[in-house]
């Protein structure tokens, strides 16, 4: 009996049309799964392992993957060091604290600003004539396609103290030579936020809003017109319809967009690296930049891995919190 069941299972897998389909699915997904396993999963596991070692690729270590020996196991030492808030903390700890602050400030500014720009903009684009919509969508989406390094270089030109467009415009208007170092003067602070960080924020928003815009336009198009019509029949104004009908129905999309934006804001590297290189005075030293420098400039791979674990934990916790806060209990 059991042999018959086994033969039946084998037939389902290897014989007939169903078997052929399963083999086809397995065949086409296997390369992608293998790719993910080798280039994503393995590095993640390796990073978690390295976080518990004082590992530097410059030291030979033990024969087993270079772990141990001159690259000793340190357990939770890296994580303990991160909680050192004393005045004589080592430089890499103080830079880590700075990087956490910079990254949190950046991410928590990016999300509301991005949503504040993209949501009304999407509603406006959605309200224009059908023939014009694609033009606006294209215009706003184009920066998303641009290389981040290119964007950083262009904004660097715009904000250059001597040859920059912005200072050039101010000089023209005021008639006085203006050399404001927007991204290299540590004394420039606005509402407690370094102007250099705001400059990177502006460049990031300029490039990134098109992405959420397209998501919101698609979500707006998916809201049934009948619901809005019913509200209008009941005497709701355009604002009331948006506030009490459209916005609640967009909650799942807002959740998705805010999580994606938050995660990508935590991962921004190229803009910080090219526009400011973490300066001035570490005012734009984001966690991604801190990880890169420790790993590849200073060869402190163990410490960098520990910082990347912390970054992972921060993103994970915040994503979880967002999911809980914006959880939707009904569908339309």
């Amino acid at each position: 009996m059991s042999e018959a069941i086994g033969v039946g299972r084998r037939r389902r897998w290897f014989g007939g049309r169903e078997g052929a389909q399963k083999r086809f699915v397995a065949g086409v997904t296997l390369p992608a799964v293998a790719f993910m396993a080798v280039f994503s999963l393995l590095p993640i596991v390796w990073a978690f392992a390295l976080a518990f070692f004082d590992f530097s690729p410059r030291r030979a270590g033990s024969p087993f993957l270079g772990l141990g020996g001159d690259n000793p196991f340190v357990g939770l030492e890296h994580f303990k060091a991160m909680t050192d808030f004393s005045a004589d903390q080592p430089i890499q700890v103080s830079q880590f604290h700075t990087a956490v602050k910079v990254t949190l400030a950046f991410a928590f500014l990016v999300v509301p600003l991005n949503l504040a720009i993209t949501l009304p903009l999407a509603a406006m684009i959605e309200s224009v004539h059908t023939r014009v919509k694609p033009i606006f969508r294209t215009i706003f989406f184009l920066p998303v396609l641009a290389s981040s390094v290119g964007v950083a270089i262009i904004w660097g030109f715009v904000l250059h103290p001597q040859n920059g467009l912005l200072n050039g415009a101010i000089t023209r208007i005021t008639g006085k030579t203006t050399q404001i170092a927007w991204i290299s003067d540590p004394s420039l602070v606005y509402l407690g936020i370094p102007v250099a960080l705001l400059a990177v924020l502006v460049a990031y928003l300029w490039q990134d809003i098109g992405y959420n815009l397209v998501i919101f336009i698609a979500a707006l198009q998916a809201i049934p017109q009948s619901v809005k019509d019913a509200a209008r029949v009941d005497g709701a104004s355009a604002w009331q319809t948006f506030r009490h009908i459209t916005l609640p129905l967009l909650k799942p999309t807002i959740l998705l967009a805010s999580i994606l934006t938050m995660i990508s804001a935590f991962q921004v590297f190229d803009l910080f690296q090219v526009m400011t290189d973490g300066g001035p005075q570490d005012q734009t030293r984001a966690l991604s930049l801190d990880i890169y420098r420790n790993a590849f400039r200073y060869q402190q791979m163990g410490w960098a891995a520990a910082v990347s674990v912390v970054l992972f934990a921060i993103v994970f916790v915040i994503s979880l919190a967002q999911t809980r806060l914006l959880r939707n209990r009904w569908e339309y």
Binding site: P31, G61, A181, S184, T276, Y298
Partner: protein, 445 residues
């Protein structure tokens, strides 16, 4: 099975193989087209193929390629393949390839990096050069980087200097009535720098003397400590001594140049208006950078180059000693199965004076060999690069910066950040020195 199904399966299989192939052939390395087995005959004995890695640079790569072809001509059984990587990839590739045992036979190594990779390198065999031989043959600056715990791990090819002389735009100097005869004191230099500085509406639109880039600032600070009679390391090299009267004097002198408005470090620094860009776009009248910058910019800015000279910086006291990093040279991986041949090539390229001279001429670098900084070799190098003349005069004063635990962090994140903070008023000189010393000592681990 239908024909269509077969076709689909074949296409799927081919696509999967292509994906796999693409995944396995990633990377940015470039291999010499003509390096292959060009000279790979067997007339001189067993055929040997050596792999050599270098960072990508037109002039450096041409110089290495020429050396390889010359060696192959003398040793027809040996062929040398040069593979190059862009600078950042090169550092990362070395970090991964050396521990993984995938390093090439010969590594074009920046001297200051050498000791951090000593676990994966072989020492120079005595029949190639002993340490005393090398100390006689090479300047101490470049050799210092390749010497780890009194063992020699490579042969230097260039002297890498960033301090000791400054670029001067003679047209700007003439227009401002500044003599280009040189200076005997810092007061004279500062006075001249003020004359060539241009200030409009309170903003410095042309800096008189740019020293506030990462390398220039660190080299200035450390060199001035030495010239003031101090030392930035303790006697056994286990701790930094930056918060000292000599350190205070050095930082105060540098700050005085900012206070006297010959440079605004907010506008002229590592991130914006870097010294090479600043000087050759004529936003700076003088700039502290090594002679390699002229070779780098001369094609794009021939008119500025024509008006450019190097002038020796004044000493702080009588001492003209200044610090220098170690330059590029040749090292051999411990994985090399033909280390003896690889070292013979290194000897050929770096120790034979005419070959070393050819390398310096092609790469536009100052020689590491003492012999090539004298006599006819010196004349030939100066003939090819007139800007070398000033540097030849001061090369004997160059002292290797020392085996620092984390040279890049010290330069670019500790000295640079705190010196700029002191210049801009964010920290006092004392606070900056205390922070520098504490943070620098953390790098000893």
């Amino acid at each position: 099975m239908s024909r269509r199904t077969w076709t689909m399966r074949w296409l799927t299989a081919v696509f999967a193989v292509m994906l796999l192939g693409a995944a396995c052939t990633f990377g940015e390395g470039e291999t010499d087209g003509d390096g292959g087995d060009g000279g790979g005959g067997t007339t001189g004995g067993e055929a040997v193929t050596l792999r050599m890695w270098a960072h990508r640079s037109t002039s450096f790569n041409a110089a290495l390629r020429n050396a390889a072809r010359a060696y192959e001509a003398e040793h027809p059984n040996v062929s040398i393949e040069l593979e190059t990587f862009d600078y950042d990839s090169y550092i990362q590739t070395l970090q991964t390839a050396l521990p993984a045992g995938n390093a090439p036979d010969i590594i074009h190594m920046f001297g200051t990096w050498t000791c951090s990779y000593a676990d994966y390198l072989t020492t120079v065999p005595d029949d190639i050069a002993t340490l005393p031989d090398a100390q006689t043959a090479f300047f101490s600056g470049p050799l210092g980087g390749f010497t780890c715990d009194d063992a020699l791990y490579g042969l230097p090819q260039e002297s890498n200097v960033e301090y000791g002389a400054t670029l001067v735009n003679t047209a700007m100097a003439d227009a401002a009535g500044v003599s280009t005869d040189g200076w005997t004191s810092w007061d004279e230099l500062i006075a001249d720098a003020k004359k060539v500085t241009v200030i409009q509406d309170g903003a410095i639109t042309r800096a008189g003397y740019h020293f506030t880039a990462g390398d220039g600032l660190a080299h200035s600070f450390l060199s001035l400590i030495l010239q003031g009679g101090g030392s930035y390391l303790n006697a056994d090299g286990t701790a930094f001594t930056l918060d000292t009267p000599e350190g205070e004097r050095a930082l105060t002198l540098l700050k005085s140049m900012v206070d006297q408005q010959i440079i605004d470090p907010v506008v002229y620094n590592d991130e914006q208006n870097w010294v090479g860009d600043c000087y050759f776009t004529e936003l700076c009248a003088m700039g502290l950078v090594g002679p390699w910058a002229v070779a780098d910019y001369k094609d794009d800015y021939p008119e500025v180059t024509a008006n450019t000279i190097y002038l020796e910086l004044p000493p702080l006291e009588d001492s003209k000693t200044f610090i220098a990093d170690s330059g590029w040279g040749l090292a051999v991986s411990s994985d090399s199965p033909k280390a003896d041949v690889a070292w013979d090539f290194a000897r050929f390229a770096a120790l034979v004076p005419e070959n070393a001279e050819a390398w310096n001429l092609t790469s536009g670098t100052l020689p590491a060999l003492v012999e090539n900084a004298e006599g006819a070799a010196r004349d030939r190098l100066v003939g090819a690069f007139p800007h070398f003349e000033t540097w030849f005069n001061i090369l004997p004063n160059a002292q290797f910066v020392g085996q620092l635990p984390d040279r890049d962090r010290l330069y670019y994140e500790i000295i640079y950040n705190h010196a700029l903070a002191a210049f801009q008023g964010g920290e006092t000189v004392d606070e900056a020195l205390q922070a520098m010393e504490a943070e620098a000592n953390d790098t000893f681990g």
